[in-house]
């Protein structure tokens, strides 16, 4: 179907695959916990779509279909690593410990960020495509100067791979041998633009032209994504330089809730990818190899439902911010135009805030 060099450790049917380069190091409990993460993320993702449809969010960027890519990479990270996401990395945010309600503050339009990026070591979302890849490389250059055994991980998609910033990030990472892993989720579509328009060669081949390794992994196989990510991160932390990982996956849903994918892609394609579902194949493995009981799966589903309910409550409780908060943190140091704006807003009675 896809590329012969695709790293896969688990077939869509949940059967293990031998790979000459990689083998799974995860035990049954760990695989079950990965499964749990993916189920929770799918449930929260669906809840968020519902919240948008009900008018409670301005927008939502669904991640359905990309759970294995994100949980596999997210779980491979060490606590001190630092991640640089786009607006669709809800699974990475989850793995970094960002509370789900914080992920939705951007989409509820009450914040342009949503969480403390230094606390979770997970940067705020970058909406302009590809910008964050340079931030990751710069951060990695800081790691080098601090002599730390840490890595930065930059997330982007097949669409962003055409951005100049991403290619500049590749140049710099190679030139400085920066401890950074570029994690490209090729979900096949940049809104309506197919990935074949972004690149005439497999995306992971691009790194070779820049002088560092590239790997294509089955992005719907959480075991493979985990191993490939872990090896790349381990290498980066000890001076091995950058790696490009292309997680070959599929965006089952729309680009965002404002998008209508039926205008540009056929149902049959979506159906093919639904058969490669990242969650079902892990479940099949857990049943066959680890004899996990239905009751255990039911417990996870119930836990996810509870979290979705809490997420809904938290979102509904997010009220319109006092307008005067727009002046907070626009600058780090006092600024006359900030003071002027605050004063005007208070004088006009727009805000009940205090100077």
């Amino acid at each position: 179907m896809i590329d012969e060099e695709l790293v896969q450790l688990l077939t869509p049917e949940g059967e293990r695959v031998e790979n000459s380069e990689y083998e799974s190091t995860l035990n049954g409990d760990e695989i079950f916990s990965f499964y749990r993460d993916m189920v929770i993320m799918r449930r929260l993702d669906n809840e968020s779509t519902s919240l948008q449809r009900q008018g409670q969010l301005a927008l939502w960027a669904p991640m359905q279909g990309q759970e294995a890519a994100q949980i596999g990479a997210g779980r491979a990270l060490a606590p001190m690593d630092f991640t640089f996401p786009t607006y669709r990395e809800h699974g990475i945010a989850w793995c970094r410990g960002v509370p789900p309600e914080n992920m939705l503050r951007l989409f509820r339009a009450v914040s342009n960020g949503g969480w403390d990026p230094q606390k979770y070591r997970h940067s705020v979302p970058t909406v302009v495509l590809g910008s964050q890849t340079l931030h990751a490389v710069g951060y990695a250059m800081g790691i080098q100067r601090d002599g730390a055994e840490e890595a930065a991980m930059a997330f982007f998609g097949d669409g962003a791979s055409s951005q100049g910033d991403v290619l500049e990030a590749f140049v710099w990472a190679a030139s400085f041998n920066a401890p950074v892993v570029f994690f490209c989720q090729n979900n096949q579509w940049g809104i309506s633009t197919p990935s074949t328009v972004q690149s005439k060669i497999p995306l992971y081949h691009r790194s070779h032209g820049f002088g560092f390794p590239g790997v294509r992994v089955d992005g719907n196989d959480v075991l493979a994504v985990y191993e490939v990510s872990k090896r790349a991160l381990d290498s980066a932390r000890v001076g091995g330089g950058p790696t490009l990982i292309e997680a070959y996956t599929y965006r089952i849903g729309a680009h965002t809730t404002s998008d209508d994918p039926t205008r540009y892609r056929i149902d049959a394609e979506v159906e093919v990818w639904k058969h490669r579902d990242p969650v079902e194949r892990v479940k099949a493995l857990l049943v066959r190899e680890y004899k996990v009981k239905n009751a255990d799966f039911d417990d996870v589903a119930a836990e996810a439902d509870t979290m979705a309910l809490k997420l809904r409550e938290d979102v509904l409780a997010m009220s319109r911010p006092d307008p005067i908060t727009m002046f907070d943190d626009a600058y780090a140091a006092p600024h006359p135009l900030i003071e002027e704006g605050r004063r005007e807003m208070i004088d006009l009675g727009i805000s009940g805030g205090e100077l």
């Binding site: 630092f82 705020v124 302009v128 710069g138 500049e168 780090a332």
Partner: protein, 328 residues
Amino acid sequence: MATTTMTMAKALNEGLRRAMEKNPKVLLMGEDIGRLGGVFRITDGLQKDFGEDRVVDSPLAESAIVGTAVGLAIRGYRTVCEIQFDGFVYPAFDQIVSQVAKLHKRSDGAYLMAMVIRIPFQGGIGAIEHHSESPEPYFAQTAGLRVVSPSTPNDAYWMIQQSIEHDDPIIFCEPKSRYWEKGEVDLETPPAGLFDALVRREGTDVTLVGYGASMKTALRAAETAAVEGTSIEVIDARSIAPLDIEVMAKSLEKTGRVVVVQESPHTASVGSEIISELTQRCFYSLKAPGLRVSGYHVPYPPTRIEEDYRPTVDRILDAVDRVMGFES
């Protein structure tokens, strides 16, 4: 008072050196800034003394110079980016406007975007296209940024250090045509705060405001006008964003007439903002409408004719005559 005479280029070099000695988190990054010392030699000798990790010769990509400085800022470093020429800053425009200016806000204050983006700007060196522009209005208009410009070696020495120590991102516009002119530098006491305007010459008839390379032209115009009996007060804005409008307003209350000189075209310019603010604050003191002496609304011309584009003493004096001759 320990003063010494040096060029603006040397003053910037000494200021950078002192900032790097004081704070090990200060890095320099840019094209050709290491072994070569920069095309203007502003960073001459610094890589030899501070090493390649702190004075980083970068690949040739402006967006990456600024974009990686963002990542370094997140990690706690203060990077001084050198953009080789004004016309080369536009590849970095997206990173500056969408990321550098906004990330402190987007992170609810968790990130400091402490960095300095040095841009040699304005014309007067007879260069080819893209080497003589005045991009400062683009940045002055962007919330989250601050824009400053020294006009003397003393200001250059102090303002570069004050910019590096500041917690907000600073666009640092260096008047490249003045790099090789000498002046007194006080090594102990800064002349003013980073965002303070300074009165360079006192006068009573007209307030003349400028910044960067225009200051020398403005001061020459004031000298000439004095011979003809017109007393001009010359103010160096120094900070373009935010503007120190109080100092200008105080002067205008006295003179009742204002002329702003700048090399950028005058539409939506720093001069537009200065005159608008001053008109609002000093309306009843005005004896004439404020005038701008600017570059024309054309792409920067081939430099054989650049002195007919840049504000000259004659054009400034013409504006002075007009505000002096205005009768309500």
